[in-house]
């Protein structure tokens, strides 16, 4: 049985990280796992790379002693987002890394990190044209049929209305 004070996480390529369980008290996935399968040696986080998991765990370490109420829902409009200078590293990362962290935050169900990365993505999208957004987020991934070349989906018309 694993040490209850620590938890070991295994990434997609088998890299392991052992951290105090308390670091991950905001991760709903980890908390559920500890309750149901906490007697196992390690928890697999299959879709997360070591690089990203390390970043996520650093975020968790930084915020381990935060006394704020855990966010039940990252989209809760009643709790406005406030930038924390301790998270500047996340705001400065390249677009592709930001995507990976957003995904990892979602997989590990850490609402505070989901909110941080989603807010950063939104601010990068803000004010950009569709072409610029495509260029930002891996345009190769968009299959030809995905790109709306004939304006079928919606277009800002002459008067700014959606043409559909």
């Amino acid at each position: 049985m694993s040490d209850p004070a620590n938890i070991t996480l295994v990434t997609m390529d088998g890299t392991t990280f052992t951290v105090p369980s308390a670091y991950l008290h905001r991760s709903k996935l980890v908390q559920d796992w500890l309750r149901s399968e906490g007697d196992k040696q390690a928890m697999e986080v299959k879709h997360v790379t070591p690089f990203v998991l390390q970043g996520v765990l650093n975020f968790c370490e930084i915020h381990a002693e935060d006394t704020s109420e855990p966010l039940a829902d990252p989209a809760d409009p009643t709790k406005p987002f406030e930038a924390d200078p301790r998270d500047d590293a996340f705001r400065g990362m390249p677009d592709d890394q930001l995507l990976q962290f957003t995904m990892a935050a979602d997989i590990l169900q850490i609402p505070e990190l989901v909110r941080l990365t989603a807010q950063e993505m939104a601010s990068r999208i803000d004010g950009k044209s569709p072409d610029q957004i495509r260029a930002m987020f891996n345009p190769d991934d968009l299959a030809e049929e995905d790109v709306d070349s004939d304006n079928e989906m919606g277009e800002v018309g002459e008067e700014g209305a959606i043409s559909k």
Partner: protein, 556 residues
Amino acid sequence: MIMAQQALDGSDVDYAWTMSPITIQSLPTELLIHVFRLVIPPQDALILLAQVCRRWSYIALDTPDLWRSLTWSNDISPSHTQTGLYQLILHHGQHLSHLSISFTLVAFSTGESPFWVPLRWDTYTWQPFLAHLSNLTILSLNLTNHSRLIYRRKLRPNLFLHFLSLSCPKLVRFSFGDACFETHFTAELFYPDPPTGLPCTVLGPTLPLLAIFLRRLRNLTHLRLIGCESLRNDNTHVFQPALLTTLATELGPRLRDFANYRPESFAAHVTNTIRLDSDADDGGMKAWTAFCDACTGLERWHFGLCESIGDKHMKIWGRKKKVMMREMSLRTATIGGDTWTLTDRGLMEALKACPGLEALKIWRKSGEVHWQATITDRLIAHLPLFCPNLTTIHLWSLTPEPLQLSTLDPLTHLQHLTTLVLCSCPSIPRSSLPSFLLARARHTSSHKPFSLHLRDTDQSDDHRIRTAWSLATDDLADWRRFFDDPRVRLGRFDVKVETWWGVEEEEVVRARFLDLEHAMKDAYGQNVALEVYALGRGRYQQAFVVGHVKVSFWYE
């Protein structure tokens, strides 16, 4: 820093090759919806996001949750037209919970028509709009520059409210400027009871009809009947006291927010008020009493005061506690009645009933009002006793009489106070301001700075830039002690001197303040954001000068 213990091959992790091919298309739909929701302004961004790819289009346009709120204003974007609004409402109207529409009429550039009216502002255009808004809970409707709108394009109040109350039964908040309507939505239109007993459908909303509309809107808790900006001089509108009876009867304790003027803007020229003495029977006392006794659930009260409201009325207001009250804004307007009888005693009676009050804002604007006895040292001394939770105080006077305040010391007992805005307080010694600010110091932090905004009085030359002069010359040592305190962290230190040159040449007016500029720069260097500017006014008008000082700081 957390590090990996081991990799499969036992070597250090090569982050480059471990980057997985996650792309934007890999993100779950719920996550993309969350990101889309955070982009501002939402509706314009969603229209653009819909053009990125087919999947984003489906998410942006077909996710009801993203279309709960719509703000449509041609001040925000010229593409916000009637056609665009109509299409959005047809497509998303059933999901909309919040709708804010604001239009400023603008000149038409091609000269085909005197003015371009972006929205057909008539009732029958609105009927199909409203029919799609069955889940609407918040509606804000406003029109500025309304004098340019031709009469037949204005809304017919009774008909509009009839459609609204039938189509949008879930409405909780309703705010509209009176210029939207065929005739101004003001007192003279609130006929208490037409002698014939028949509703008046021509002139505007009658009180019997308003009562019916309010009865239909069972969830309504916030009602704002606000005046629109106007450049006219006769800028006061008067509601009949029977409006208060209607509010008491139909809304009563569920009324959370009532405003009869636009509270957001100091610049709004129109103040709607309720003229109690227009009721011949009992001087409006019965209606006022019904309102004060029934509407005990008020949280925000933005109320236009006129001479008809005096100490006796405030005493009635204070008879029943308003424990929910958080913000009280009082704005005076002279309507040509008797002399003011509201004094600091009346105001204290009103405040005594609001122990949870967090924001008190008093705005005196009329040039004819003699209301100088209302805001006094005695009133300020009682604030910490009556309203200990105050965070914001605005005392603003543009009347010929300055506020009769000589000290701010009692306010040091308000532990939560973070914002103090004062205008026309020449009797407060400027040398006492630095010590007042330092007395606030222990209640501040980087998350909770204290802000002081002083606008000097414009009643006499001596007073017009008194605070600015004290910073530069008279009380320099006191201020320097404050600014030089190593624990003081300045968030903002702005000094602005506005001058309007009229009969005097601009250069003459500017030259007068050169000494001030030099002294300020010498004393505070880069710490101060100093702005001295001059604007022209009528060639035969006297020069006009007024100074502003804004300081925001916290203490470490």
